[in-house]
């Protein structure tokens, strides 16, 4: 005897087996890395645009502009002394602020190391509880923007140090942070 139900069950089993085998292609070599780079670049650009359109505009209107730029001219043989007057900003407790540092270099720098040291009570977005964050980065010739999103978690304030090291040389940028 050969019932119709048996045929259907057999066909369903075969379809399930085929579906289990249904393949998908391998991801192309390097695709994930490229997608990540594109996402961070495009994501940063969109964030910057949003900030310029909203945060920066309203801050300027309120007289509270916090755009801060520091420069490191790494190819200058005699490096200038650090500015004796330390730039500073005032932050509000628990309110994130984006600080933009600009590193200027005459030539591309690969495998530079950047270390940001934070005082107690100041944190970097994405690194809760960490007072020192180090990562490797590359600089293009010209000006390189580094946006740092800081959050004050306690009212004492302090100094933020950003140190760029490359090929045995280093420069440190200081930023005073007061909390209102």
């Amino acid at each position: 005897m050969h019932s119709k139900e048996t045929d259907v069950d057999k066909q369903d089993q075969e379809i399930l087996a085929l579906l289990k085998d249904y393949p998908m292609p391998q991801v192309a070599a390097g695709y994930f890395d490229q997608a990540l780079v594109r996402a961070t670049h495009e994501g940063s650009r969109q964030q910057r645009n949003r900030w310029l359109m909203t945060g920066f505009g309203s801050a300027v209107a309120a007289g509270l502009a916090l755009w801060m730029i520091g420069g490191f001219f790494l190819t200058t043989p005699e490096l200038p002394e650090a500015n004796p007057s330390i730039p500073g900003i005032t932050m509000t407790l628990e309110e994130p602020r984006t600080i933009n540092l600009v590193f200027a270099s005459a030539v591309p720098l690969n495998a530079a190391t950047l270390t940001v040291q934070l005082p107690p009570g100041i944190e970097m977005s994405g690194f809760p509880g960490q007072h020192e964050v180090t990562w490797e980065t590359s600089l293009t010739a010209g000006k390189n923007l580094l946006p740092l999103k800081l959050i004050a978690t306690s009212p004492q304030g302090g100094e933020v140090f950003a140190t760029l090291k490359h090929d045995g040389r280093e420069r440190t940028f200081r930023l005073r942070v007061d909390i209102s």
């Binding site: 379809i15 249904y22 393949p23 991801v27 997608a35 594109r38 970097m124 977005s125 590359s138 999103k149």
Partner: protein, 186 residues
């Protein structure tokens, strides 16, 4: 400061972002592929997800299961894109995308006849899946191919389990009907 800023530095946000999302890349890529069925479209969806997720980094760091969250965002992006696409009504078809791509690396059984038959059936299945609606194709691929549980599909799509079961049943029935009609099953 008026000079145009070049930007090539990996920021702390970039590092934090990569640490959060990279462990889920394989799962997300598979989902993108199952949803879209074509490499170019899947890679666009994957890319769009990463850009959107980067903008939500502050939220992402606080989420207990970023992988599930990313999958949901991807699914919603896919649905939004499909709605926009449906409004356009002009479709481009990459003929044989999966057949030339997904089946090329299929491991064989060292039996050329069986391998050929299997490959032919998978090609027919591929064509049959292409005739299903997005809802039916998605649910059958997520459940029967990727092994998602019904509750996981519910979480991903926001569709009640009863509806998912119904779609699954109909999708399998439709596949069987198509495969009988094209002579794969007698």
């Amino acid at each position: 400061m008026t000079a145009k800023l070049s930007r090539s530095m990996a920021t702390p946000n970039d590092i934090a972002f990569e640490k959060l999302v990279r462990p889920h890349f394989d799962r997300l890529y598979r989902l993108a592929w199952r949803l879209c069925g074509q490499r170019a479209e899947a890679e666009d969806l994957f890319q769009e997800l990463l850009i959107k997720a980067y903008g939500k980094l502050d939220d992402l760091v606080r989420i207990d299961e970023p992988g599930s969250w990313l999958c949901r965002v991807m699914y919603n992006l896919f649905i939004d894109e499909r709605r926009r696409f449906a409004r356009c009504r002009v479709h481009t078809v990459e003929e044989g995308e999966l057949a030339g791509d997904g089946l090329a690396g299929l491991p064989g059984t060292q039996n050329p006849v069986q391998d050929h038959e299997r490959r032919e059936k998978l090609l027919k299945l591929d064509a049959a899946l292409g005739q299903l609606s997005d809802e039916h194709r998605t649910v059958v691929l997520l459940h029967d191919t990727e092994g998602y549980k019904l509750s996981e599909i519910q979480e991903l799509t926001g569709t009640p389990v009863g509806t998912i079961k119904s779609r699954l049943h109909r999708a399998r029935a439709r596949l069987r009907e198509i495969l009988i009609n094209d002579g794969t099953f007698s």
